[in-house]
């Protein structure tokens, strides 16, 4: 599977480009998607926590600043000249009006109270006329003794300031108090749909900001608690006015993560769209990149197919593919030039080769040594006009020609072929040496042919003469022996002796006649006398002539000429008859029992075929080749049993060849009979 995928992408740049576009387009999207799924919640939660700590600090600072301003306001009021009215119990209610006005200005849930030095009510911003001792005198005295700036009672934070007479700085008049209702703090706490702020004092179990009870298990100076539904962050108020108080923000987790979930859902919906867009963009761009390459490939294939290297490729691209096309066009031009050069060189080489062949052909046509040397020099001179070539019988500088003496089987110096030229290249030297070798071979050939022909002529003359000389006394011997048999009354024993002499002489004459014919054929002196011959009649004559021989051995001879469409052929009837007699007599001679079948037919190759099959002794496959050798009779036993010169088949084959035909002998082995086939042209 892996290999298949590898192969799928490996073989196609187009697929690789599509894959690359997919990876570049979709991988970041997938990475982002899985990153958000895996880490999005934590990251957003941490981000919320970091952001909300800032908001927390803002609320705390605002709260502390407000409390500081309140404290300063009280201090300011306590230093006004108006506090001198405390001395007279504010009977003019001038101080009371001032405090009421200030209360209205501060627009908060608070109350100013003025106590004299004995902590009895003097006046206040309240509508109620307070009288007697201060209601929370004990808590107040406790705060004074502990030098605290504030103290608390119920849900109120009480600020206080000492008052002194404006005219006597050391004259202590009493205290001005500001009772600050802690529910004012809820104005600073964040109150949103998904986020709620609280001021909490776990020591006195007091919560400001919301009625909903919350429990925060551990309090450090600051911290975060992540529950199933909420993210709670808190920080201690580092304020001189509010000890052990914390500000807490409770954020609904799901709401905070809503955006993440919405975004993930959006991405999930958008992913198929993105895939579609990336695929479309990938396909379009891959096509745009691949198209010039495909054009280039098509053009290259077309050029390769047509072998038209003059053609140039035109692609409308100016990028790397354009440069590739230009380079390829330059390559085409170079290739075309190289091919033309090569072709021209080949033509020159072919011309040289033909010239060389012509020279060799001319050299081997020469009949004499002188002609060979003269023609060779002339032809080489024509081929290399710049070189001066000459032949000398003496030894000298150049190609030394040694010719074989076949009689002695030694090499003899013949002469020197001299090439006079300013400079020779290695190839030229090899060429001239080859010419010298060629001349040497031709000289040897001429010598060999001359020697052979001379020997052949001598042999033929010898045989011809000898045959002629032999035939004369043999004819005399035969004539005398026949005279003795016919006219002399010889005894039986004498009769047998003379009979043997006659037989031997006839056999010898027959052999000499065969040798003479062969010699004539080899000497090219056998003359043919062509005429129109009725082949069927000729065949019937031969069969009828040899039928008595077959009958002596109780052999049946069958003749089939139905397939022979030809009535007559143009040939030498004497030699054809001689061949057929030889074949048929051989068949009868080498068959002890059975039959001899003769079949004459016309072949589709416009040839006439005569086949003579017998059921005789047959021939081994390895002996078939020896059949047509002169004086060949195969087995000595056979030779003893079947008399013959051993020249019959050899002579018949030569005659068949002489008549433009052929003679074949077939046999499947010993005792399996044999088949002689004579083919004659029509």
């Amino acid at each position: 599977m892996k290999h298949l995928l590898y192969t799928y992408f490996q073989v196609s740049l187009y697929r690789k480009l599509i894959l690359a576009f997919m990876l570049v387009g979709l991988l970041p999207l997938l990475v982002l998607y899985f990153y958000l799924i895996l880490y999005g919640k934590d990251k957003i939660t941490q981000n919320i926590i970091a952001r909300e700590f800032d908001n927390l600090q803002t609320v705390i600072v605002s709260t502390q600043n407000s409390l500081k301003r309140t404290d300063k306001e009280l201090l300011f009021l306590s230093k006004l000249d108006a506090v001198d009215d405390v001395i007279v119990g504010d009977i003019d209610e001038r101080l009371a009006r001032l405090l009421q006005q200030k209360k209205r200005d501060m627009n908060a849930d608070l109350e100013f109270i003025v106590l004299d030095s004995a902590l009895k009510y003097v006046t206040s911003s309240s509508e109620d006329h307070l009288q007697g001792g201060y209601k929370y005198k004990k808590e107040f005295q406790n705060a004074i003794s502990h030098k605290k700036n504030t103290f608390m009672h119920k849900r109120k934070l009480v600020f206080y300031a000492k008052m002194y007479a404006s005219f006597f700085p050391n004259k202590f008049l009493g205290y001005m108090l500001l009772e600050y209702d802690l529910k004012n703090l809820s104005n600073f706490a964040v109150q949103g749909k998904d986020i709620k702020g609280y001021f909490i004092n776990p020591k006195i179990n007091m919560i400001i900001g919301n009625n909903q009870k919350i429990t925060i298990p551990v309090y450090k100076n600051r911290g975060t608690i992540i529950t199933k539904n909420n993210v709670v962050i808190y920080k201690k108020l580092d304020s001189p006015f509010l000890e052990n108080w914390y500000y807490v923000n409770v954020i609904k987790k799901e709401k905070a993560l809503d955006f993440l979930y919405d975004f993930l859902l959006f991405m999930a919906y958008m992913f198929p769209v993105a895939v579609f867009l990336v695929v479309v963009v990938g396909f379009v761009n891959a096509n745009r990149i691949i198209q010039p390459l495909q054009q280039l490939t098509q053009s290259v294939l077309k050029i390769r197919q047509n072998k038209d290297y003059k053609q140039h490729i035109t692609i409308n691209a100016h990028d790397e593919i354009g440069k590739l096309t230009d380079a390829f066009n330059e390559l085409l031009t170079t290739t075309d030039t190289a091919l033309e050069t090569l072709e021209a060189e080949n033509r020159v080489r072919l011309k040289r080769f033909i010239e060389l062949i012509t020279i060799f052909n001319a050299i081997i046509q020469t009949k004499s040594e002188a002609e060979c040397i003269e023609l060779s020099i002339q032809k080489i001179q024509n081929l290399t006009p710049n070189a001066q070539i000459c032949f000398e019988k003496q030894r000298g500088e150049g190609a030394q020609i040694y010719v074989t003496n076949f009689e002695k089987n030694t090499k003899e110096f013949y002469g020197t072929l001299t090439f006079q030229k300013e400079e020779f290249s290695e190839n030229e030297l090899r060429f001239y040496n080859s010419i010298a070798v060629m001349i040497t071979l031709q000289l040897e050939r001429i010598r060999l042919i001359n020697a052979t022909m001379q020997a052949s002529r001598a042999k033929s003359a010898f045989i011809s003469n000898m045959s002629h000389e032999l035939r004369t006394p043999l004819n005399a011997i035969i004539g005398f022996t026949q005279y003795l048999i016919t006219y002399e009354s010889l005894q039986q024993e004498q009769m047998e002796i003379v009979g043997n002499i006659e037989n031997s002489a006839s056999y010898l004459l027959e052999m000499i006649n065969g040798i003479l014919d062969i010699a004539k054929i080899e000497a090219g002196k056998m003359e043919l006398h062509y005429e129109t011959v009725d082949i069927k009649e000729l065949l019937l004559n031969v069969v009828s002539m040899l039928t008595p021989l077959a009958e002596q051995k109780n052999l049946t001879i069958s003749l089939d000429m139905q397939e022979c469409k030809q009535e007559s052929i143009f040939t030498d009837p004497y030699f054809v008859k001689q061949i057929i007699i030889n074949l048929l007599s051989n068949a009868i001679k080498f068959t002890e029992k059975g039959s001899v079948e003769i079949r004459l037919e016309t072949l589709e190759t416009k040839e006439l075929q005569l086949s003579i099959s017998d059921t005789g002794i047959g021939i081994e496959a390895e002996d078939l080749e020896k059949l047509f050798q002169d004086f060949a009779q195969l087995d000595h036993k056979i030779q003893k049993k079947y008399k013959g010169t051993g020249l019959g088949l050899s002579l018949s084959k030569k005659l068949a060849k002489l008549l433009q035909g052929d003679l074949l002998i077939q046999s499947e082995g010993v005792d399996k009979g044999s088949r002689a086939i004579l083919i004659l042209p029509l």
Partner: protein, 139 residues
């Protein structure tokens, strides 16, 4: 005898016109003083009597009594006074503190050693921790 004479004279004045008195805390051992002396106190020229700091008390600016005091005792117009205190302000001195009513002024003088104020003579209680150091009428 002196007391009887003073009482008679005050009584006779009250019959004829609105009479006012300048009162001082009992602890201030001071007897009748001249108008000029009262003026010196209210203009903060005299701020101590012995070791005791004098604390003169004015009535609020809308008070007719204050107008009478400035006219007959200080003998200075409001503009004059304003210019005076502007100059004094730069010297680090502040004008006398004010009370809104004669009643509160009386109470102040009663409670503050060195306190001085002016009130209508008729509002002066019979038994009081103050004593009159000057009187005038707006006639």
């Amino acid at each position: 005898m002196k007391k009887i004479c003073l009482f008679l004279s005050v009584f006779s004045l009250s019959v004829q016109a609105n009479e006012y008195v300048v009162i001082a805390n009992k602890e201030l051992h001071i007897n009748k003083v001249t108008r000029e002396y009262v003026k010196q106190i209210y203009l903060k020229k005299h701020t101590y009597l012995g070791e005791k700091q004098l604390v003169p008390v004015n009535l609020s600016g809308q008070s007719s009594l204050r107008d009478s005091f400035e006219k007959h005792v200080l003998k200075m117009s409001k503009n004059h006074l304003r210019r005076f205190w502007t100059v004094e302000h730069y010297k680090g001195k502040r004008p006398p503190l004010t009370m809104q009513s004669a009643n509160s002024a009386l109470k102040f003088v009663e409670k503050v050693e060195g306190g001085l104020a002016y009130i209508p003579a008729k509002t002066l209680p019979k038994k009081s921790a103050v004593h009159v150091i000057y009187m005038w009428s707006d006639k």
